[in-house]
């Protein structure tokens, strides 16, 4: 399992998580378009590398369906943050 904190430290990776929160199960092509819509325009190769970091941190899961590869969001690794620094109720 990679470092969830390092994965969250990059604004492009946070934008990818935002894009997957809005629409789960996206291809690399669709995620590049989603970043463009959010005013970011990293290269496709950079997006691919960011997705690898997110996958290693367990925040993104890759699902192969036939000949396509889709990316799904998995925010379970974020629970560790709230366990380590519990957030008091208001």
């Amino acid at each position: 399992m990679g470092d969830v904190y390092r994965a969250l430290a990059d604004p492009t990776r946070r934008a990818l998580l935002d894009a997957l929160t809005a629409t789960d199960g996206q291809t690399l092509f669709a995620l590049c378009a989603a970043l463009l819509e959010r005013g970011l325009s990293p290269t496709r190769q950079a997006v691919s590398q960011h997705l690898t970091v997110l996958e290693e941190a367990g925040l993104v899961r890759v699902r192969r369906e036939g000949r396509y590869k889709f990316h799904d969001l998995d925010t379970r690794p974020l629970r560790e943050i709230a366990r380590r620094w519990p957030v008091p109720e208001e």
């Binding site: 629409t23 996206q26 291809t27 690399l28 092509f29 669709a30 378009a33 989603a34 463009l36 819509e37 496709r44 691919s48 000949r67 396509y68 590869k69």
Partner: protein
């Protein structure tokens, strides 16, 4: 003055490709000339018989398969066609059994979607 005469897509099966591009998408047949075991098969946009021809080219070269597989895996379209209303068009195609890989998605000035042509390629539609 050069112009874009042909735009080609590699297809696994020319008969199935004709079904997709003519019968489902609505392109019109321009040339269907027998050439050995394959055909010189081109189509044009409806109502534009002198326009750019879409050439349905047999995907026989060994480099085509890995190239296309890598593009399809990442959801990258082989080419793009403009339509009047991409949302309505994708809904119509899905109703006729076409696989939608990326639903209509707003991207800046255009809304685009990606569908599978069933003969090896992803095709982008936009409006």
């Amino acid at each position: 003055m050069p112009k874009v005469s042909y735009c080609s897509v590699f297809v696994d099966d020319q008969d199935r490709a004709l079904q997709f591009y003519r019968d489902l998408l609505g392109f019109e047949l321009k040339h269907d000339v027998p050439l050995g075991e394959h055909r010189w098969l081109t189509l044009t946009a409806p109502g534009d018989p002198e326009g750019t021809q879409l050439l349905l080219e047999p995907a026989e070269h060994p480099a085509v398969k890995p190239f296309r597989a890598a593009l399809v895996e990442d959801g990258i379209p082989a080419t793009a066609f403009g339509v009047d209303d991409v949302t309505a068009e994708v809904e119509r195609l899905a109703g006729r059994g076409v696989t939608v890989v990326m639903p209509p998605t707003p991207t800046g000035p255009v809304t685009m979607a990606v569908v599978d042509d069933s003969c090896g390629n992803l095709i982008q539609l936009f409006s």
